[in-house]
Subunit: 582 residues, 2 copies
Amino acid sequence: MTHPLIVRRDLDFMLNDWLKMETLFQAPAFADHSRESIDAVLDLSEALAVDLFLPHYKAADAAEPRLEDGRVITLPAIKTALKQYAELGLFSAGFSEQLGGLGLPYLACSASFAFFGAANIATAAYAMLTTANARLIAEFGTPAQVEAFALPQIAGRWFGTMCLSEPQAGSNLADVRTRAVADGEDELGARYRLSGNKMWISGGDQDISENIVHLVLAKIPLDDGALPDGTRGLSLFIVPKILPDGRRNDISVAGLNHKMGYRGTANCLLNFGEGEGAIGWRIGEPGRGLQQMFLMMNEARIGVGLGAAALGYRGYRHALAYAQERLQGQRPGHAGSVAIIEHPDVRHMLLTQKAYAEGALALCLYCAKLVDQHDDPDAAALLGLLTPVAKTWPSEYGLAANDIAIQIHGGYGYTRDFDVEQLYRDNRLNPIHEGTTGIQGLDLLGRKILRADGAGLAVLERRLGETCDQAAQNADLAAAADALRAAWQDILRALWAIQNLPEATRMDNATAFLRAFGHVVMAWLWLDQARAASPAPADAFHAGKVTACRYFFEFELPKVGPWLAAAISASDLTGAMSNDSF
Amino acid sequence: MTHPLIVRRDLDFMLNDWLKMETLFQAPAFADHSRESIDAVLDLSEALAVDLFLPHYKAADAAEPRLEDGRVITLPAIKTALKQYAELGLFSAGFSEQLGGLGLPYLACSASFAFFGAANIATAAYAMLTTANARLIAEFGTPAQVEAFALPQIAGRWFGTMCLSEPQAGSNLADVRTRAVADGEDELGARYRLSGNKMWISGGDQDISENIVHLVLAKIPLDDGALPDGTRGLSLFIVPKILPDGRRNDISVAGLNHKMGYRGTANCLLNFGEGEGAIGWRIGEPGRGLQQMFLMMNEARIGVGLGAAALGYRGYRHALAYAQERLQGQRPGHAGSVAIIEHPDVRHMLLTQKAYAEGALALCLYCAKLVDQHDDPDAAALLGLLTPVAKTWPSEYGLAANDIAIQIHGGYGYTRDFDVEQLYRDNRLNPIHEGTTGIQGLDLLGRKILRADGAGLAVLERRLGETCDQAAQNADLAAAADALRAAWQDILRALWAIQNLPEATRMDNATAFLRAFGHVVMAWLWLDQARAASPAPADAFHAGKVTACRYFFEFELPKVGPWLAAAISASDLTGAMSNDSF
């Protein structure tokens, strides 16, 4: 492989030298695992990603899923790849042994997924959605529901979707209008008839899996037939494409979305209940739908970040390989044309990509480890705080890395002869789905900070402080430690200022706050990685980590100031402007 | 039209209220023109853009040019649109009456072009390349060459290309290997036989025009057969697809590039002289090729900026219309769902787009007026300084505006059902062609500043100071005037610091300097527009201009600090990192 998808040594560094994955094996749930067993999973993942996911990367982009006679037809190579993914046990790997899995830490599953996300995000997305769906049913479903609907997904025979949005209900799920009318009870639980239209359903139909398990947010009508207001009226239903008795459920594919990228993932408009109503079984209590769905969405948000990081990472490796091969221009001290990596501007772009792509991957793996530590209240609090960052930062900066990858390729990068243009198109989805960047900003500043108890912030402050204390011992990193402490104080000062803004305008610049906060988190994680890389023999790999850290502190951290100034701005600028002035 | 391509009132404001286009009519060359005559050209341009350019915007993206039997076949609607463009005299509009034109100011031509660039940049590009080609021949060619090769282009019957790059010679034209061997002389001048491969030739072949005039950079071998070194060895040749005697020249289409966007413009790899050598006539003296080509490239660079601005502008108008229609979420003081324009984050994104898109257009029009004033040494000096900014800033921020347009559309913006994803793909070319952003940074800091006589900087300083003086009279703008003066001092201080860096590293962060410089130029132009908008009755339109200016100073100008810090950084970061550490 000229362009490794994810550099294995880098992954090993993050998992073992930095995140100390072996500490997870002390927990009873992971006691059967070892570095060796997980290395074996990673070996197998990389090989499968290269052998069966990568080869149809372009083909699945060119041959989009199509709708024929109401059924979605996908490129056969997608099925071949996912069948092997199932046969190697990768759908089940993260589930407990009782559920037929290997009980692998989420951290290891994420590391494995990074290979597939880099190789072919659109094919890998089917697997990501399926495991997230099964995990939700395993968490909240009855034993019968788990057996009927989770186990076939854990085996990789059935796939799953999440059906939240509707044409009129995108970011605001309170507007969901899909109705679920009670229809008795059976061994699978309280049964309902659903009717409504669901939009943006990834994997909403396909010809890959034997069945599809839709998890559908819907509202149970009140006695007067009206739908309850707000998100508290949302309940969650299991609505399979094919019913347990073998009949087709009342679900039809009303259309396919034709996307800029991410094309291998069929994205559908589904109509539920055009006839007698689609049959579904409620999960848990009525009115808990959104809360339950958040379990899946939180996993999906980290998954989106991880996919975005993987796309950015692969683009970086392509650009690096190209920059080492492409001869153009002269440099003092070199005879003849030089490889473009020798030009300072290209080196700077490569270093930017490295800081973005490797940093984004590190953030997602850090959060994955927190998932594994969810019994620890500190870890859970920190995970809640970091989830909008893990969704957003890789989506924004993985994409920025892909943009730079095109730029380094020059005109070639703009053509479909190279992969970097597709990586860029694919990654452009990530700042949108599972909550746009704007929505993540509201989540971070509102739910996770201003309306929270401060536990997550306290954990972050402590861990960030520990990193600074350790880094301060190292002469090369001491200045960065000081800068990070100062940046953290800037964050706290900004939060103080935001709390003192009038309540009506406090959230107006939540996105700017998210950008600032994300960059400070990333500075912390880079410093922490540089610290982990420093005691080792100063080989080229470790030196690269330290330099990427330095890059981040020199060229990226200074951007935080303007963002925080925007976040605390009491400016009436946007509010005072009339709509006619745009 | 729900989404005007370019808002006519805005264009009128920029041309007349701000740039005082009527002052150009005092020059003898433009004495025949008036606001009325130019208004008529703009009316006709907008109507043609809407009627014949816009309708095939998506179709030309879906049905890329294809190669059949060595000939490029394009969508017929492209030919229909450009035929009408010719019949309405728009190819010739900017040429003098002696050349069959209307002698329209370049400023008016640019305003006209903005409609076509917004409607369909890939179709409009054929016209832009043709007029730039004809202008070069008119400037440097013999009367016979002008008659034979420029006039048919000015009439819009033949189209033109510029053939610079080769597979191994992209940004570095010194590496050009196309050979031009003397082959006698005839009434069209010194004749040569050319052989070599030219890459990235937009409009390199097509089935639209009767003939194609290639302007080819090539090297005349020395007596020993070797090619001269460097760019001083480059000469320029007129190489028509069909020779004056009706025979096909020895030029073949070796391939088509399949691009991410901008697809309607056929982009070719051309092989010259696979047989007996392609016949071409030298323009001007040997060794002057690059200098002559720069005339075309300078026009093309402003044209690229203008196209990028137009793409960004149209995306903004789409996003604005969508934000006014799309209902989602609640806001205090509003019953039921609100249009998303009411959400602060969306308003902020719209204002960002407005500042980027309208600002980019203003910059290009400002530079177009400087083109018209080229007899004034001040204007010429300022134009030279601003050309890399006019190329880069709209390319980077027009694209950023298109990115935001997708974001405002949410998932819909990522689908091909809406135009904003294509606008984004189309615009991604602009930071690459006619010199990447990195190359423009070297041009600005190196050729235009450090190695220049300072005349351009002095003019800019004077004009920027005049704007500040005038703005300072207005209480609403006085603070911005102070901020701009301070930012200009920061630029000068940075230049001082850069001059004191070791010569070998002075240019290392030229791109960061370009970003900072571009933002300061844009702050100046926004302040100058706000000044022009302020004395008018405070209607919604003018208030919008003032608010966009305030936005730029509050949220954009603060980004200059980190860029300048990077530009003057004596950091050894990229240099000290070994290639193995990436």
